[in-house]
Subunit: 272 residues, 4 copies
């Protein structure tokens, strides 16, 4: 895919989506509300950092790096790697806000492949990238291998939680739900790999459990641009069937305000 | 959407899909194997009726009938209703095969809405079709109401299991997994509403749990044809990331053979 | 079992339990805190009705009525039926407090037994009470049958939620977790049948999910008194490994105060 | 607790349990069937190694070693440590049988305690053994710390699966179910710590999911002997409400036969 196609994409967040756009909803801009499609996010007023987690899903070399699983399958890594830089900028912002939770996930299997369903293994063999066999970035999709690592630009800080998962959805077979409950988190912002597979599965699981979700189109990517666009479009059906869609820029605008408020509060406390 | 667009669609099963098509895989036609994309289904040899369930998902008036939820939201019901007739034909076939399990699902909420997440309710209100309020087919998406019933063409027979579900995925908050385990079912054939929402969520959940899945493109439908096509295309990525795609015709060919074999066996038993 | 044995039991709530009793904890009596063992409940201050649900588990004829499943297996129904009257009194109290949620469960299987694991069926046959066969109270443990109904003394009011479940735990294969989340409920008070089976399984599942649990010893019962006592004792290990134990009297004392406060508030609002 | 009390216990497997003992069931001794209470295990004929997993639950220093969590709480470690030697012997036997799966679990929390529910933390503080604080065996119940390690006598071999879990049940928040499904395992043999907490919770979860379970009384242990006995007794209610109970000796008798058969088969193959 050519770079100009993503030029088209990066405008999507500000553009008219297909339908049905509730008139006015996205136009409302209360303090703490993110301009999004098909509604200003979150549905219940304003972004509250202590109740919100930023999910950085599967930003591993296997999915968006050179010589990883996706590369090995013959897909264009540029389509996924484009999400790295905006996600890095967003992380920087989020980390400056006290009480905001960051959670990473990594798709990968146990070295003994005990958690690998036989059909998942068979399919990976079919396309010449069998999970568990040696590839240019170590054993493909296996925990601890180079390809399974989160890309260096997004390396988690100490204290940031990483959830390892065997499937596409981040809730099945993991402690993610418990972590979110234990911190009282009810709102999720989704970024990562890939828009139509891991991110979409996670957003669907989260939404069915009642989490209020927002997906950032420029912080996600897919091996096929049509799938990327379609996955985002699906979210917006039925008034936001899985949540809402926006760009990192729109989110950062709101975070900046929160960050300033928080700084002011801290300053206030200090001077008193 | 015009009818000719679905003419285009109905050919999809026999057509080249985007990529990556494993050479030869779909061409292999062992007895009991279904021609599908991107691989002849199932991965582990042949369709075994006692280990397979046909899922008929959310074929309710609310999703594919006149005056239901989808209709009320302003979407074109033809896009979903097209799945009714091929599903009816398939059901007839499947019911003639001993040991084949049929499971229906219905999306809907308790009359007191206790199982309705606040954001799901809010969004439905936003688009003028608030769940729980009176619509032309009774209270919208509420159990027991006319709109929530399975369309008359597909009325379940006595003895066919119906799973009621509060979300889009059929595994969350239901006994579906237990039912499948208890019968030793490991393979699922998916039909129903809508391709990109309920069907796709269910297929993703099933696949993460290790079920081997097949989706029938002509027995599904969506409120937006691009989403329908995209949802099917997503399945075929990475060697069949969620399973395989085919048409009811391709499946019926194999079922006919199984049905004949089973008839022959029964006859054989009788003459002995 | 003789009635005097339960005389012994009814004193348990105010008595010394084995160990380890954290000194002072149970003695603290803030407004809204329930005297319990091994700690004054809840751990985080006071009972807040809008965040608390009273669970009435499996109070069905099959478990505590004449000619039900438990009776049929040859157990003494008095041991379970004793819970009916204190639960009835408690329900009356709870229903007078606005925002308090009541949730019933019923163990039972689909009429076609699709949700009945083969080993559960086999074991019930072994003891002469096969699930699904005709008994004196209809088909044993089957939904819709007389034996499966909640005993008449505790009939749910309209608007009170009932969760049907195929297993012993109330979270597996049900929408209970979704219902609790959707209402923002984080604290559970457990009553019902039987202390060592359904109630204990539910309490363990709830506790692992982070719910703060309280079990009422006089509103529960078991087919074996030693198991009843032991199940309650297990809860109190390790500082309250699954929560805390008390009696309905202790709880009602706190509810009375809340009820008065709530009445005073309403009155106050009216006079303003 | 004095050692002679466990003398009493070690006879339990061969002794009459309370009730209701189905006449004859435990007396049947087909090849491959384990003498157990209340029925010869498994319910469906004979032990098949490829479909069976031995679960070794939470045999960590924190639960059965010197200076661990249990010791720190003031409980008698002998009551739990007694399970080590029979489990070691059993493991030796099991490992000699091809296709038999061994799965360990470890209870413990992430170093940042993100997966620790607030009430679990509060309770541990209450009894002077706060999870996450420094104890004589490292940070209490934290992954990677000395106390969290499996005791040296039972160190897992390379290739044996270890499941880390945040709660008492081994199914919540883990990939255990996926691992069992992926290997086609339907039967579980439970050993480990503690009989009334982790082992009992896991057995209940497994049983509700349809797994056929057997618990070994001498390979389990609890901080309170009455709870140990009661937890085992609960299993045997209602014809084996959670499965069956036996001793490692009874199991080893059957495994020996299987081991010999397997050796004979291998020999046979070699000589052909």
């Amino acid at each position: 895919m050519a770079e100009h196609e993503y030029g088209r994409l990066s405008a999507l967040g500000n553009q008219q989506w297909k339908r049905p756009r509730p008139t006015g909803a996205a136009a409302v801009k209360l303090s703490g509300e993110v301009v999004a499609n098909p509604y200003a996010w979150p549905y219940d007023g304003r972004l509250i950092p202590s109740r919100t987690a930023l999910l950085v899903l599967d930003m591993q070399t296997d999915f968006c790096g050179k010589s990883g699983y996706v590369d090995r399958m013959g897909y264009d890594v540029f389509s996924t790697a484009r999400a790295i830089e905006p996600t890095r900028r967003l992380l920087e912002m989020v980390r400056s806000i006290p009480e905001f939770t960051v959670i990473y996930t990594r798709e990968g299997h146990r070295p003994d492949l005990a958690d690998l369903a036989p059909n998942k293994r068979w399919r990976s063999r079919l396309i010449g990238a069998e999970i568990g066999t040696e590839g240019p970035a170590g054993r493909i999709l296996v925990r601890g291998e180079p390809g399974w690592q989160i890309v260096p630009q997004l390396t988690p800080l100490p204290g940031e939680t990483i959830v390892d998962k065997p499937g596409k959805g981040s809730f099945y077979g993991t402690d993610l739900d418990l972590i979110l409950r234990s911190r009282g988190i009810t709102h999720l912002i989704l970024t990562g790999m890939t828009t139509d597979v891991g991110v979409q599965s996670t957003m669907r699981e989260a939404n069915d459990r009642g989490y209020e979700c927002l997906i950032l189109e420029d912080c996600t990517g897919a091996t096929d641009i049509d799938n990327h666009v379609a996955a985002l479009n699906m979210v917006t059906m039925q008034g936001g069937v899985f949540g809402a869609v926006t760009t990192s820029d729109q989110l950062i605008r709101v975070l900046l305000r929160l960050s300033l408020e928080s700084a002011r509060l801290t300053e206030g406390e200090l001077t008193i």
